[in-house]
């Protein structure tokens, strides 16, 4: 049974239900109701004591705040260990996501490099391709998430140079087994009273450097991370565990305007990692569920998608393979919409951030 047939089936069944005609009863009741007359609201008399009480409360509150602040040393103590303990992988994956998005701001993948090989109803297929253009921004993260298999080889150590106390290094792999190196130099503060910490630093990725801020509470698996290209262009990322799933809410800010918001949740079903990407705000509205399988020792991305075009729901499966053409790699995308003919096209794959030495040795 197709989606359309099921909708028709439900609708027909609903129409079989007899609903009584209460219109005349409702009219009678409505006519019998008195027309409401709104009474003027009388202003309460001003009280002489009210402003005095308010002033006293304000003065006492101010005194309490001053006393509390006076008891503090002024600067939060800097802890010996990293405040990001047990959250290193979360910070690593958050950074990977943020960097891949911020890179797209500079170098947006063009839709002009797509080639239709075969298609069904053109209009719907074009819309799916537009949606997939937005999806492709997240494929780098998906590749690195699955290929690194939760092991980002994080090293966090004390550093006494360039005005930073600590350095965190980690690396990721992608489906072509290429390595990317990330370096975060940072200072940290921790408030033992509130258990809150903050991290301020710089991320070095290839030849580029970005500002980083991480806020969180020790002991809780939740952080807010901001990666800035500049004051107007940045990525805001919230990590928290919802219903037992690691959930990232990622917001892309371009020229000080929020242009896209997505959630990525990670789940483990039958020993298989399942990532779900949902477009929450922005021009796209799709939900994509990713799983990975192997074919001739090559990793293939398998996606189930649900898209909404006004009131129509479009769903189906996508298979993405990576093809190597000379020194470049491209995505070969096969779309199989439910109830319609499949079609395929290709898209450019971002490979520009690999470190030079790694690229030279690993390039196939």
């Amino acid at each position: 049974m197709t989606h359309k047939e099921l909708k028709h089936y439900i609708k027909t069944k609903a129409e079989d239900v007899e609903i009584k005609d209460f219109s005349s009863v409702i009219i009678q009741r409505a006519k019998a109701q008195p027309v409401k007359v709104t009474e003027p609201v009388r202003e309460p008399k001003p009280s002489f004591f009210r402003p005095l009480t308010a002033s006293l409360i304000t003065v006492f509150a101010a005194m309490i705040i001053v006393l509390v602040l006076a008891n503090q040393t002024g600067v939060d103590p800097v802890p010996d260990n990293t405040v990001l303990e047990n959250m290193e992988n979360v910070v690593a994956l958050s950074t990977v996501q943020a960097i891949s998005l911020i890179e797209v701001m500079d170098n947006e993948l063009s839709t002009s490099n797509t080639t239709i090989l075969r298609f069904g109803p053109q209009e719907k297929n074009d819309m799916i391709r537009d949606e997939l253009a937005d999806l492709s921004r997240y494929l780098e993260t998906i590749e690195k998430l699955y290929a690194s298999n939760d092991d980002f080889e994080v090293v966090d150590e004390v550093k006494d140079q360039s005005g930073f106390d600590r350095r965190m290094r980690f690396r990721t792999r992608d489906f072509m087994d290429k390595l990317s190196q990330y370096e975060i130099d940072y200072n940290q503060t921790f408030n033992p009273q509130t258990n809150r910490f903050s991290v301020l630093g710089k991320i070095k990725f290839g030849t580029k450097t970005y500002d980083l801020e991480v806020l969180g509470t020790k002991g809780s698996r939740a952080i807010t991370l901001t990666v800035k290209k500049d004051e107007l262009n940045y990525v805001l990322l919230d990590f928290e565990v919802i219903d037992g799933k690691d959930t990232y809410t990622v917001e892309l800010i371009k020229n000080d305007l929020s242009v896209e918001k997505v959630t990525i949740s990670l789940d483990q079903i039958d020993d298989q990692k399942v990532a779900t990407l949902t477009f929450v705000e922005g021009t796209s509205t799709g939900t994509y569920t990713f799983t990975i399988f192997e074919e001739n020792l090559r990793k293939i991305i398998s996606i189930h998608y649900t898209l909404s075009f006004d009131d129509e729901v479009e769903e189906g499966d996508i298979t993405i393979r990576i093809l190597t053409l000379q020194q470049a790699t491209i995505y070969s995308i096969l779309v199989e919409p439910e109830g319609r003919a499949s079609f395929s096209f290709t898209r450019g794959r971002m490979t520009s951030h690999m470190t030079d030495d790694v690229q030279n040795t690993q390039l196939i």
Partner: protein, 174 residues
């Protein structure tokens, strides 16, 4: 929608000439937004009347740019949720076990009954399927009503339709 808005203009002037037409065109959406929550035909009928009474009482607040179907469905849904919560408390407090229907009663319902079919779904799934498939509301309108992101609404809808597909397939096979 233009015809509905014309009738709403009349209703704002307490002119009920075409109320029966208005009721006929909107009752199904309202009824289904109520029945799947309260699961009781006569209670749903009472709330159906209450929904229209509430709508007429506050009709001057109705913004003509809004979808009247979505507006009425929201009133009905809220009334049903209030009623459901009140009844749930009463049942828990009084331990009225007799409120649970006997097994034979359940079996008497036809297998492909719409209410039984929707009962396969969770509360959110039922809400979304009812609003989209039966009430013809758009996903953006549903997201507004349910105060959920549109992506979440789509995800829940997709999950619900998969469940229903399996259920309907099963009942058609047997």
């Amino acid at each position: 929608m233009d015809q509905l808005n014309m009738m709403i203009k009349e209703l704002k002037n307490r002119d009920y000439t075409h109320f029966d037409v208005f009721y006929e065109q909107t009752k199904r959406q309202v009824f289904f937004s109520i029945i799947h929550i309260v699961k009781d035909q006569s209670l749903a009928e009472d709330l159906l009347q209450e929904t229209y009474m509430k709508f007429l009482e506050k009709i001057e607040l109705f913004d003509e740019h809004r979808n009247p179907h979505a507006y009425l469905a929201t009133i009905g849904r809220n009334l049903a949720i209030n009623m459901y919560n009140t009844r749930k408390k009463e049942i828990i407090n009084d331990e009225v076990i007799s409120a649970i229907p006997a097994e034979e009663e359940i079996q008497e319902e036809p297998d492909d009954d719409i209410f039984k079919l929707l009962d396969e779904l969770s509360r959110d799934e039922k809400d979304i399927v009812t609003m989209h498939v039966i009430n013809d509301l758009k996903f953006r309108e549903i997201a507004d009503i349910m105060k959920k992101p549109i992506g979440t609404v789509l995800w829940i809808y997709n999950k619900a339709m998969k469940k229903l597909k399996e259920k309907v397939g099963e009942s058609h096979d047997t």
